[in-house]
C-alpha cells in the first residue's frame, strides 16, 4: 500500500513532500515520489529535441533529489521519474502500477499562500482520478513527526453525505485521529430593495441549520456504532456571509485534514468535484482530500467491518 506524491517539475516541491510524509506516517503507508516528464519526439524527428530532453531530465532529477533530502531516514520512500504525454495521465499510470491508494499534490503557485489552489494538473485529476486526491494548501509545512490529528468531513445533508462521514470515520480511526462533521451555512445578503429588511435570510439559514444539525446527529449515531472509533467525535456548523468566512468560522488547527465527497453528478469510480465541493476546497486552510464515490463505498464498508 502506497501514498503517491506527485512532485511539480519546476517549482518547490516541499509542500507536497511534507503533506505526503504526514499522511504516510498517519496511515502507516509507504511513500512513492513521482515526477513526470514528457516523452521525446519520435526518433528521426528533429534532434534538437535532445537538448531540451536533457534539460527536462536533469530538472526532474533535481526535483527528486530535493524530495529525497526532505524525507527523514526512518521512512521508506521510493522515487520515480515517469514519461507521459500529460502529467495527470503519467501520475495515474504510476499509481496503477504501484497500487497506490492516495494521490498527493501541492497547490498551484498561482494561488494564495495558505489556501488550496488547483493548477491544471490538479484540476484534471479532480475530474478523473479513480483514487482519492489530496491537495495541500500553497506553502504547506509541518514538523517532521507531524501526523493527522483530526479529519473534518464536509457534510451537506444530501445523498451520499452519510457515506462520506462513515468512510472518514474509518480512516480517522486508523490514523488514531478525531472526527469532525462540519456543515457550512453561507448566508447571502438580503437584497435591500425587497423592502423586507436585512435579516430575511437569517430565518432561512436558521431553519437550514436546525435541519442540518439533526442530520449531523443522526450520522454521528451511525459512527458510534462502528467497531473502530475515531479518538473523538464532534460536529460543527460554520456561519458566514460567504464560503471563506463560513469555513474559517469552525476553526482549524495543525494536523487538520478536510474531506469532501465527489459530486453525485459525476461517474461512480472517479473523483468528480462539484461546484459546492470545489468552493469548499478553494477556501480550505488545511489539506483537502477528495474521495470518489466508488472509493467511498469501499472505505465505508471497511469502516463498518472494523
Amino acid at each position: 500500500m502506497t501514498v503517491l506524491v506527485g512532485l511539480p517539475r519546476d517549482e518547490r516541491a516541499a509542500a507536497a513532500v511534507h503533506l505526503g510524509l504526514m499522511l504516510a506516517r498517519s496511515l502507516d503507508e509507504d511513500l512513492l515520489f513521482c515526477t513526470v516528464v514528457p516523452p521525446p519526439w519520435p526518433p528521426g524527428m528533429a534532434r534538437v529535441d535532445a537538448e531540451y530532453q536533457e534539460y527536462l531530465d536533469s530538472s526532474a532529477q533535481e526535483t527528486i533529489e530535493e524530495a529525497r533530502r526532505l524525507v527523514p531516514g526512518d521512512r521508506s520512500a521510493a522515487f520515480v521519474v515517469a514519461r507521459a504525454r500529460s502529467t495527470s495521465a503519467g501520475l495515474l499510470e504510476v499509481a496503477r502500477e504501484h497500487g497506490a491508494r492516495l494521490l498527493v499534490l501541492g497547490s498551484s503557485t498561482a494561488g494564495v499562500l495558505g489556501r488550496v489552489a488547483f493548477g491544471s494538473v490538479a484540476d484534471r485529476l479532480l475530474h478523473s482520478s479513480p483514487l482519492p486526491v489530496v491537495l495541500g494548501p500553497r506553502g504547506f509545512r509541518c514538523r517532521p513527526d507531524a501526523t493527522v490529528r483530526r479529519v473534518t468531513a464536509a457534510f451537506g445533508a444530501t445523498d451520499g453525505a452519510d457515506e462520506l462521514v462513515v468512510a472518514v470515520a474509518g480512516v480517522a480511526a486508523r490514523a488514531k485521529a478525531a472526527l469532525r462533521v462540519a456543515s457550512f451555512a453561507v448566508r447571502p445578503r438580503t437584497p435591500l430593495t425587497a423592502g423586507i429588511g436585512s435579516r430575511a435570510e437569517d430565518a432561512v439559514v436558521r431553519e437550514w441549520t436546525a435541519d442540518v444539525e439533526r442530520s449531523q446527529r443522526a450520522v454521528l449515531e451511525q459512527v458510534e456504532k462502528l467497531p473502530r472509533q475515531p479518538s473523538a467525535i464532534e460536529a460543527a456548523v460554520g456561519h458566514g456571509s460567504d464560503w471563506a468566512a463560513a469555513i474559517e468560522d469552525i476553526g482549524w488547527d495543525d494536523g487538520d485534514l478536510l474531506a469532501v465527497g465527489s459530486s453525485t453528478a459525476g461517474p461512480l469510480e472517479h473523483v468528480f468535484i462539484g461546484s459546492r465541493s470545489s468552493r469548499i476546497v478553494r477556501h480550505s486552510p488545511v489539506p483537502v482530500v477528495v474521495v470518489p464515490r466508488g472509493a467511498l463505498r469501499a472505505l465505508a464498508d471497511r469502516a463498518e467491518q472494523g
Binding site: 451537506g156 445533508a157 444530501t158 451555512a185 453561507v186 448566508r187 447571502p188 445578503r189 438580503t190 437584497p191 435591500l192 430593495t193 425587497a194 423592502g195 423586507i196 429588511g197 436585512s198 435579516r199 430575511a200 435570510e201 437569517d202 430565518a203 432561512v204 439559514v205 436558521r206 431553519e207 437550514w208 441549520t209 436546525a210 435541519d211 442540518v212 444539525e213 439533526r214 442530520s215 456548523v237 456561519h239 458566514g240 456571509s241 468560522d249
Partner: protein
C-alpha cells in the same frame, strides 16, 4: 371573548426578534452600519422606479387626461408622508424586517396579520403586474427585432381578448427557478439596474420632448379632480418600494439624519423622473391614443422619431430592469411568507428549507404559482389597483400605528421621529384614505374579501398555533 382579544393583540417581544436573528450566537447581533446617504438613496430609487412607470400611463391617462402629471405629484406626496411614518415605526424596532414584523412588535398579532394580508397582496399582485408589463415590452422587442409578435391568445388576459398571458407566466417561472437555485440580487446588480432604468427613462424624455405638441394638452383635465385622484390611485403602484429605505435602517450610518434625507431624496428623484416622463408622454401623444396602448413608452418614441430604434433600445432596457424587479418582488413575497410561517401562523410546509439549495422551495413554488395565475389571467389595470390598495392600507395602518405608539409607548427609543408630528401622520392617513376612496368599488371589495379570508385563517389557525402561544420552538 376577552381572553381571545387579549391573545389577538399580543406583541412579539423585541428581545425575541433580536434573539431570532442571531444564529446560535453566530453572525447575528449588530449589523455593521455601512450604508451612507448615496447608496441608501439608490436603494430607494432602485426599489421604486421600474415597477410602474413603464406601463402605467396607458392605464392612468384615460382616467385623468394630461392632468395625470398632477396625479403623479399627489401620489408622490402621499408616498413621501407614509414613508416618513414608516421610517419612525421601523426605527422603533431595533431589528430590521418588513412592516409585518414591525407591526407584530408594536401593534399586536392581529394587526400584524392584517398588515401581512396587505403585504402578501401587494407583493403578489405587483409581481404579477410587473410581469404583465414585461410581456408587453417583450412583444414590442420581438416585433422590432424579428418582426414576430406573440399572438393575442397567448399574450393577453381573458379580459383583453386572449387566453393567457404566457410570457408573464414564463417570466415568473424563470424567477422562481432562479430563486430555488439560490439567486439573489446584489447591491452591484441593483446599482446597474438603477442606471439602466434611469438611462432609458432619460432617453425617453430627451427624445420624446422633440415631439412636444401643446395641442395635446388642450383638454387638460377632462374628468376634473375626480379623474386626477382616480389616476393617483392607479399610479400609486409606481411608488411601491419607497419603504425599502426604511427597512434598511439597521445598516444605515447615522440613521436619524440619513434616513429622512434619503427618503426625501429618493422621492424627489423618482417623482421628478415620473413627472418628466408623464409630461413628455402627454405632450407627444393625443390622450385618446393612450387607451389600451401596449409598451406605451416605446410606442410613443417610435411615433415621435418615425423609426423603431429608440423603441427597441427602451424595450430592451425595460426588459432587463423589469426582470430584476420581478425577481426581487417574488423573493420578498417568499421571505414574508417564511417569516409568518416561522411565527407559527402557517403550517410547517411553508418553512421547509431544501438541504441542498438552502432555499425555501415549497414556499417559492406556492408563491410562483399564485403570482403566475394572477399574471396569466388578470388585466394590468386591475393588478395595479390591487397593488395600490394593499400598499395604501398597509401604510395607513403604519401611520395610525405611529400615533398609537406615541401615546402607548412615548419613551420607546426611536432612531427616527416623524418631523411635524402629529400633522404628518394625520396627513398621511388622510392622503391614503383619499386615494383609496378614488379606487374602483370592485378593487375595494376584492381587497376586503382577501383581508377577511386572512383574518378568518388567523382566528381559526394562527391564534392557536402562534409561537407566542406554543412557546419558542427551536431545534437547538
Amino acid at each position: 371573548m376577552a381572553p381571545m382579544l387579549k391573545q389577538a393583540f399580543r406583541r412579539k417581544p423585541v428581545e425575541l426578534m433580536a434573539a431570532e436573528t442571531g444564529v446560535d450566537g453566530h453572525g447575528g447581533g449588530q449589523l455593521a452600519r455601512t450604508i451612507g446617504l448615496f447608496p441608501l438613496t439608490m436603494i430607494g430609487v432602485g426599489a421604486t422606479i421600474g415597477t410602474g412607470i413603464f406601463f402605467i400611463l396607458s392605464e392612468a391617462v384615460p382616467v385623468a387626461g394630461p392632468a395625470v402629471v398632477w396625479s403623479f405629484v399627489i401620489a408622490g406626496v402621499v408616498a413621501g408622508l407614509t414613508a416618513l411614518c414608516y421610517a419612525e415605526l421601523a426605527s422603533a424596532v431595533p431589528v430590521s424586517g418588513s412592516s409585518y414584523s414591525y407591526a407584530y412588535a408594536t401593534l399586536g398579532e392581529v394587526v400584524a396579520m392584517g398588515v401581512a394580508a396587505c403585504l402578501l397582496l401587494e407583493y403578489g399582485v405587483s409581481g404579477a403586474a410587473v410581469a404583465v408589463g414585461w410581456s408587453q415590452y417583450l412583444n414590442q422587442l420581438l416585433g422590432n427585432l424579428f418582426g414576430i409578435q406573440i399572438p393575442d391568445a397567448l399574450s393577453q388576459s381573458p379580459e383583453g381578448g386572449g387566453l393567457i398571458n404566457l410570457p408573464a407566466v414564463v417570466l415568473i417561472a424563470l424567477c422562481a427557478l432562479l430563486l430555488i437555485r439560490g439567486a439573489s440580487e446584489s447591491a452591484t446588480v441593483n446599482a446597474i439596474m438603477v442606471v439602466i432604468k434611469l438611462a432609458v427613462l432619460v432617453m425617453f424624455v430627451v427624445i420624446g420632448i422633440t415631439g412636444w405638441n401643446s395641442d395635446n394638452l388642450a383638454d387638460f383635465a377632462p374628468f376634473g379632480v375626480a379623474g386626477v385622484t382616480g389616476a393617483a390611485g392607479i399610479i400609486f403602484f409606481a411608488f411601491v418600494g419607497l419603504d425599502a429605505v426604511s427597512t434598511a435602517g439597521e445598516e444605515v450610518k447615522n440613521p436619524r439624519r440619513t434616513m429622512p434625507i434619503a427618503i426625501m431624496l429618493a422621492l424627489l428623484i423618482v417623482t421628478s423622473v415620473y413627472v418628466a416622463v408623464a409630461l413628455v408622454a402627454v405632450g407627444a401623444q393625443q390622450q385618446a391614443r393612450f387607451e389600451g396602448q401596449e409598451a406605451g413608452l416605446a410606442a410613443i418614441l417610435e411615433d415621435v422619431v418615425g423609426a423603431s430604434w429608440p423603441g427597441t433600445v427602451l424595450a430592451a432596457g425595460a426588459i432587463v430592469s423589469i426582470f430584476s424587479v420581478t425577481l426581487v418582488v417574488i423573493y420578498g413575497q417568499t421571505r414574508i411568507l417564511f417569516a409568518i410561517g416561522r411565527d407559527g401562523m402557517l403550517p410547517k410546509f411553508f418553512q421547509q428549507v431544501n438541504a441542498r439549495t438552502r432555499t425555501p422551495v415549497n414556499n417559492t413554488i406556492v408563491v410562483a404559482l399564485a403570482v403566475a395565475l394572477l399574471a396569466g389571467f388578470l388585466p394590468i389595470n386591475f393588478l395595479a389597483e390591487m397593488t395600490s390598495i394593499g400598499t395604501l392600507v398597509a401604510f395607513l395602518v403604519v401611520s395610525i400605528g405611529v400615533i398609537i405608539l406615541r401615546r402607548t409607548a412615548p419613551d420607546l427609543p426611536r432612531g427616527f421621529r416623524v418631523p411635524g408630528y402629529p400633522v404628518t401622520p394625520i396627513l398621511s392617513v388622510l392622503g391614503c384614505l383619499w386615494i383609496i376612496n378614488s379606487l374602483r368599488p370592485i378593487t375595494i371589495a376584492v381587497f376586503a374579501i382577501w383581508v377577511a379570508v386572512v383574518l378568518v385563517w388567523y382566528f381559526t389557525y394562527g391564534i392557536r398555533n402562534s409561537r407566542l402561544r406554543t412557546g419558542h420552538r427551536d431545534a437547538s
